[in-house]
């Protein structure tokens, strides 16, 4: 999906934050948020890809209101999809925790997704051999559906060179929607910065890992 999460190359976000040695959680609630998100796939019967898709579906204003905010809402969206909680329940509970005497709505009926899995983690194998080899010129495909993908906007329709074959992996585009793991070959593709950003770009090379369905032979 073309969402707020896909920020590669966007203008307008200003200076980078300063480097600090701050601990992972500035406040206790952030640690709790982390754990809820880390366990959310297990709680919801989902997976890592569905969790990422949850974060992508967080409304832009909420997405930009801090990392642990979008992380928590994303995890909650995945749990809502599985009938674990509702936003109304969370709002009512938040109000009660704040001392308001509001009624709590009844909990939803859980309906966790059922998808066959090839085991823990995301590394898999595939019977068909890789379509591309190191050194091949490839063109990145267009992406035209609102579902989850790991194909960022800024490399679509660009031409690069395969520099490495990475392990075959669960395909996020299908797994996030519980359609199936459909493992895919994965390639590191390298682009010249001018291919991505035009002739005045800073000179550098950019590498990104792309699944085979995202690629076609360059002509």
């Amino acid at each position: 999906m073309d969402g707020i999460h896909d920020v590669g190359g966007m203008h307008g976000f200003g200076h980078v934050e300063p480097l600090t040695d701050a601990p992972p959680f500035a406040e206790p609630w952030e640690g709790k948020a982390f754990v809820i998100g880390a366990l959310s796939a297990r709680i919801a019967g989902g997976n890592l890809h569905a969790m990422r898709h949850g974060i992508e579906r967080v409304p832009p204003s909420e997405y930009l209101a801090g990392y642990w905010n979008r992380w928590t809402i994303g995890a909650q969206l995945m749990m809502e999809d599985s009938g674990i909680v509702t936003e109304e329940e969370v709002r009512a509970r938040a109000a009660r925790l704040s001392g308001q005497d509001v009624p709590e709505p009844p909990p939803p009926a859980p309906h966790k997704p059922q998808m066959a899995t090839g085991g823990a983690g995301n590394l898999r194998s595939r019977d068909t051999p890789p379509a591309f080899a190191v050194g091949d010129l490839v063109r990145v495909a267009e992406h035209d559906h609102p579902g989850h993908t790991r194909l960022p906007r800024y490399v679509r329709r660009r031409t690069g060179t395969v520099t490495a074959l990475q392990p075959c992996q669960v395909f996020p585009d299908t797994a996030a929607h519980f359609v199936g793991e459909d493992p895919q070959h994965c390639y590191t593709v390298e682009f010249d910065s001018r291919e991505l950003w035009g002739s005045n770009a800073e000179p550098f090379r950019l590498s990104i890992d792309l699944y085979e369905p995202y690629l076609e032979p360059a002509r």
Partner: protein, 196 residues
């Protein structure tokens, strides 16, 4: 009660969500505490620093690390979530690697722990794939024009860690002393390691 479109304070949302999950037997305080303690105390950049210091002092280990990062890192006992396949990128006087995840905040947890705030921030994610030299300069790293920059966007389940250059003047230091010099920022590629 706030309406569903109104921003709910995130700390309050987390408390509310946690209390509902705990009530349903889907979460418990002890698990929360264990996870938090793990990522506050045991899984962090001190792990990656040990990997780097060993690579600096043991040429065979360095070769193994660059050939199969996951296995060589596993030799030191570092494995787990977000570390299924780790590729180590070697910085040299001619080539400087820097790592990002433009779509979310993918990061090699077993060696670096959880990502710092700047890594998750849209400013870093949007800009380092477009103007990396300028971004590095803002972080205080001014690379010579002759140094080639290579940016790595972590878009699959492959995770990247940078093996920084060993600074001059550290020949006399032990592996443990070297590990103390290695920073998280250098292992992401936004800084270099400096001698004490």
């Amino acid at each position: 009660m706030t309406s569903a479109s109104e921003h709910l304070d995130p700390a309050l949302r987390v408390e509310a969500l946690a209390s509902l999950l705990i009530e349903r037997g889907l979460l418990d305080e002890a698990t929360v505490e264990t996870f938090v303690k793990t990522y506050e105390q045991s899984v962090g950049p001190m792990n990656g620093a040990k990997v780097v210091a060993k690579a600096w002092t043991d040429p065979d280990y360095r070769a193994r690390l660059l050939a199969d990062g996951t296995a060589a890192i596993g030799e030191l006992g570092f494995k787990g979530p977000q570390g299924e396949h780790i590729v180590v990128l070697e910085n040299t006087p001619a080539v400087h690697h820097v790592v990002v995840c433009t779509l979310c905040s993918c990061y090699p947890w077993p060696v670096l722990g959880l990502p710092p705030s700047w890594y998750k921030d849209p400013a870093y994610r949007s800009r380092v794939v477009r103007e990396p030299r300028q971004v590095l300069r803002e972080f205080g790293l001014d690379l010579d024009d002759g140094v080639e920059i290579r940016v790595h966007d972590s878009s699959s389940e492959v995770r990247y860690m940078v093996l920084p250059e060993r600074p001059d003047g550290t020949e006399h230091l032990s592996e443990a002393e070297l590990a103390d010099l290695v920073t998280r920022d250098a292992m992401v590629g936004v800084a270099q390691v400096t001698a004490p």
